[in-house]
Each structure stands twice: as structure tokens, then as C-alpha cells.
């Protein structure tokens, strides 16, 4: 049986991690390549890089980072943030990433999903979704609305309808982030994850709200998620990946325990 995947997410700006990351032992690491290598050795199943470089001209720095990461780590990793065209996807894949995630660009121009899937295969096109809870309406029947700009801009689109449309266009996976739980460390948005994961046939990575191993357990069981994104709970040394995996393993979740 497939293992549930535990995926650390690293935010990168201009080739550096946005926050210096402190581990037990007080090491401060700002280099995304070293950090990725650390997580690779620690037993991460996959790594997500989220590039928040503001200036388009500086995007080549991220490509260089991807190239350096791919020379050192031999598990899949994806790159998201600022991907606007099929050529952007091509560059990131050529540099060695396994997958690319598209978010707001796909809402504005859904054909980037179908064109990307056609050119490189569905398995490397991840749909990044930022979702906010709203009062259900005719337009947003599920009460979950697509948003962009870190939640500031509502798009008037129902999250489930968008997920299903993106699946039909050829997205191979969904990374589902709840704006409401993101950063709270109080757990993932379970109802949202269950809603999306049980109504699409592609894998769903839960994102937003992880603060403790039980949150991962909940979202991988009640939330139907196939994988769980984590950030601060391991970045600051509160938990190791092995501790999280042992917790899940002890509770009957299949995770990769040797690496």
C-alpha cells in the first residue's frame, strides 16, 4: 500500500529562506539547498518550495536554487509561486524539479493546466488552492471560496467546482491550503479536506494549520488527505519528521519509516 506522505514546505525569496530556521542545537540555516538536504536526510517524503520572489527579473535565482537542490536530494520536490506560463513550468522541470504547482495563474488562465499536462504529463502539474470559508451562496454552494493574494482577493469561485474543473483539465494533484487555519497551528481544516479529497480522484495534499502530530493524523484519516504539508512544526525543531512519522505509524497510518 502507498504510504501517506509528509512534506515540509520551504518559503524562498531571492534564493534565501524567508525565515532563518532554527533547529534543536540552534543552527540557523538560511540556504534552501542545505535545508532541503537536511529534510532529505531526516526522512521527508517530498519537499515543496514556495518562491515568493516579488520581482520577475530575479526568477533565475530560483531556477539556480532548483538546480542546486536537484544535484543533492533524490526525492521528488515541487516548486510553486509565480509560475505564469508553460515556459515557466518547463524551466523549473528542466532544472530538476519533479513537479510544479500553479495557483493564481491557473485561476486567471486555466489552460496553463491543460497545456502543462499535455506537454509534461499530469503527474508534474500540481494545482495549488488557497481557500477561504464563506457563507454558502448560489455562487459558492459549498461555502468554500477560492482566494488569491494570501487571502485578500476573493475570486467568486467555489473551491470544489474549481478542483473538479482542474482535475478535468489534467491537474495531477491538489495542494489544498486553508487560509482560515493557515498559521494557527491548531489543525488542518478537516471538512474542507474531506470535501475536496472525496470528490476528486487525484491525490490531495492538506495544507494550513499543522501544529502537532495529531493534526496530521486527523487530516490523513478524517480529512481523507493523501499527504500533509508541514512548516513551522519542524522548521523550529519542535518536532522531527521521525517523531511525526512514529506517531502516525503507531496509530496505524502507513508512512515510510526507513530511508
Amino acid at each position: 500500500m502507498l504510504s501517506k506522505r509528509i512534506i515540509p514546505c520551504l518559503d524562498v525569496r531571492d534564493g534565501k529562506l524567508t525565515k532563518g530556521i532554527k533547529f534543536k542545537g540552534n543552527v540557523d540555516i538560511g540556504d534552501p539547498v542545505e535545508m532541503a538536504d537536511f529534510y532529505y536526510q531526516e526522512g521527508a517524503d517530498e519537499i515543496v518550495f514556495y518562491d515568493i520572489t516579488a520581482s520577475y527579473e530575479r526568477r533565475d535565482i530560483m531556477i539556480e536554487t532548483v538546480r542546486r537542490v536537484s544535484a543533492k536530494i533524490f526525492i521528488p520536490f515541487s516548486v510553486g509561486g509565480g509560475i505564469k506560463t508553460v515556459e515557466d513550468i518547463h524551466q523549473v522541470l528542466l532544472a530538476g524539479a519533479e513537479k510544479v504547482s500553479v495557483n493564481s495563474a491557473a485561476i486567471r488562465n486555466p489552460s496553463i493546466i491543460s497545456e502543462g499536462a499535455e506537454a509534461f504529463g499530469s503527474q508534474c502539474i500540481v494545482l495549488g488552492m488557497d481557500v477561504k470559508r464563506v457563507t454558502p451562496s448560489k455562487k459558492i454552494p459549498t461555502g468554500y471560496e477560492m482566494v488569491i493574494d494570501g487571502g485578500r482577493t476573493p475570486m467568486g469561485m467555489d473551491a470544489l467546482a474549481w478542483a473538479q474543473k482542474a482535475e478535468n483539465l489534467g491537474a495531477g494533484e491538489i495542494c489544498l491550503n486553508s487560509i482560515d487555519t493557515d498559521g494557527t497551528k491548531e489543525g488542518y481544516e478537516l471538512a474542507l479536506n474531506k470535501l475536496i479529497a472525496s470528490n476528486v480522484t487525484i491525490p490531495v495534499i492538506a495544507s494550513g494549520g499543522a501544529g502537532a502530530p495529531e493534526h496530521l493524523f486527523e487530516v490523513l484519516t478524517q480529512g481523507y488527505a493523501d499527504a500533509a504539508l508541514i512548516a513551522s512544526m519542524t522548521h523550529y525543531g519542535t518536532y522531527t519528521i521521525r517523531e511525526i512519522k512514529s506517531y502516525l505509524h503507531d496509530r496505524g497510518i502507513k508512512v515510510r519509516m526507513t530511508w
Binding site: M1, D45, F74, L94, G96, G121, Q123, T201, W259
Partner: protein, 225 residues
């Protein structure tokens, strides 16, 4: 890396990564570089024939893979190299087109191993009754059926990274070296003589994957060597 090494001297120890425009080649080459192994990515028949060993990777569809191989004459290169006893490693789609035919695009394949390639069923369920997703994507265990030089230093039941919707169904049970559970048991490692083929991505499977790749770089091509 790259072709520059060819001009620099003899290429007898070179690994040829077959380029048939199916992607995923650079990650294989990067993994080889990490292991200190030189390689060339090439679609040139004579370079493939001169190489000491051949890696045959790829993602994509069987139909396109076979038509590209034929267009480049590389189907013949592979069959000749197989006949000549040259070590060959197939990865992912490389494990499928060694079979006789594939359900994907109803494709005639190379026929090195008897049997065919099938698509995972649409309505497979897991033990909890949840629907299994296709493609089979992520980490899954491989149970080794017997020893092989390429398994040296790798534990049976190690997990590897898979991404595929089709799987090989060999008729030659002796050729099945590893099996994986997904809905049912399928052959995830196939080997015969100097051919070794894995449905998973050795280049994306962490240490156990790199170990198999490294073993391949030193393999004589004999099953018991």
C-alpha cells in the same frame, strides 16, 4: 557531464542514458553524477552501441515512447545490446516497453519479456474501502522475490517512489524479482539475463534507489555475479 567527455577519450566505461524525448533524463544523470559516474544522454545509435551500459528511463505514454524509439532506430539498439549481454536498466516506462505489448495506445513493444502491460482498474478499493487513486503515485514497498546483484545492500520491503497508471504483467514468473501491492500485487521489478527493470524511479527514491543505481553501475550483467 554531457557529451564533452566523448571527445576527451575512450568512452568504454560510459553509461548511455537513452534520450527518446520522454523527459526525466536529467534527474537520472544528476543521480549518476552524485554517485561519481559519468554518463551521456544520447539518442545516437552508435553511441548507445558503444556504451558499456545502458539506462533506459522515461515517463510518458507507451505509444509515443515506442514510436520515438523506432524513429531513432533505438528499438534495434536496445534489442542488440540485450542480445550482446550489455547491462541494461529500464526505469518506469522502460519497464513497460520491454514487454510484448501495452494496453496503453494498444502498442506493440520490444518483447524482451513475455507478457503485457495493463492499466490499473478504475474502481480498486483499499482495506478501508476507500477508492485507490490512479496514477499510483508516491512511496510504496517492494518485496524482493529472490537475490540479485542489484539488490545488494538494499532491504526487501524498502519503499520507492512510483508514478504510473500502467503496470507490467509478465508471463515469465522467473523474471519477476520484486512485487508491490496496489489494489493487487503487481511486478515492480523485472529482470532477465543482462536486463533489469524497475517500475519505480530509482533516481527519486532516496538511499535505496541510489543504491540500486550504484549497483547497476558496477554490474557485470550476469544474474549471479
Amino acid at each position: 557531464m554531457g557529451e564533452a567527455h566523448c571527445d576527451a577519450g575512450p568512452i568504454h566505461f560510459m553509461i548511455a542514458i537513452i534520450d527518446y524525448e520522454a523527459g526525466n533524463l536529467t534527474s537520472v544523470q544528476r543521480a549518476l553524477s552524485f554517485l561519481g559516474q559519468e554518463s551521456v544522454i544520447t539518442s545516437d545509435f552508435s553511441k548507445v552501441m558503444q556504451a558499456e551500459r545502458i539506462i533506459f528511463p522515461g515517463v510518458g505514454a507507451a505509444g509515443k515512447a515506442m514510436s520515438d524509439l523506432k524513429r531513432l532506430g533505438l528499438d534495434q539498439a536496445l534489442l542488440e545490446a540485450y542480445g550482446a549481454g550489455k547491462p541494461i536498466l529500464g526505469i518506469c516506462i522502460g519497464t513497460q516497453i520491454i514487454m510484448e505489448r501495452s494496453e496503453e495506445n494498444d502498442t506493440q513493444c520490444l518483447g524482451m519479456i513475455k507478457g503485457e502491460v495493463r492499466r490499473f482498474q478504475k474502481e480498486m478499493l483499499d482495506e478501508d474501502g476507500k477508492r485507490l487513486k490512479v496514477p499510483h503515485m508516491g512511496w510504496n514497498g517492494v518485496a524482493f522475490k529472490r537475490d540479485h546483484p542489484l539488490f545488494e545492500g538494499v532491504a526487501s520491503e524498502s519503499e520507492f517512489y512510483f508514478v504510473h497508471s500502467y503496470y507490467p504483467l509478465p508471463k515469465e514468473s522467473g523474471a519477476v524479482l520484486g512485487e508491490t501491492d496496489y489494489g493487487s500485487r503487481f511486478a515492480s521489478v523485472i529482470a532477465k539475463k543482462n536486463l533489469f527493470a524497475v517500475q519505480f524511479h530509482v533516481e527519486k527514491s532516496g538511499r535505496p534507489g541510489l543504491k540500486i543505481l550504484s549497483n547497476f553501475c558496477h554490474w557485470s550483467g550476469r544474474d549471479n555475479a
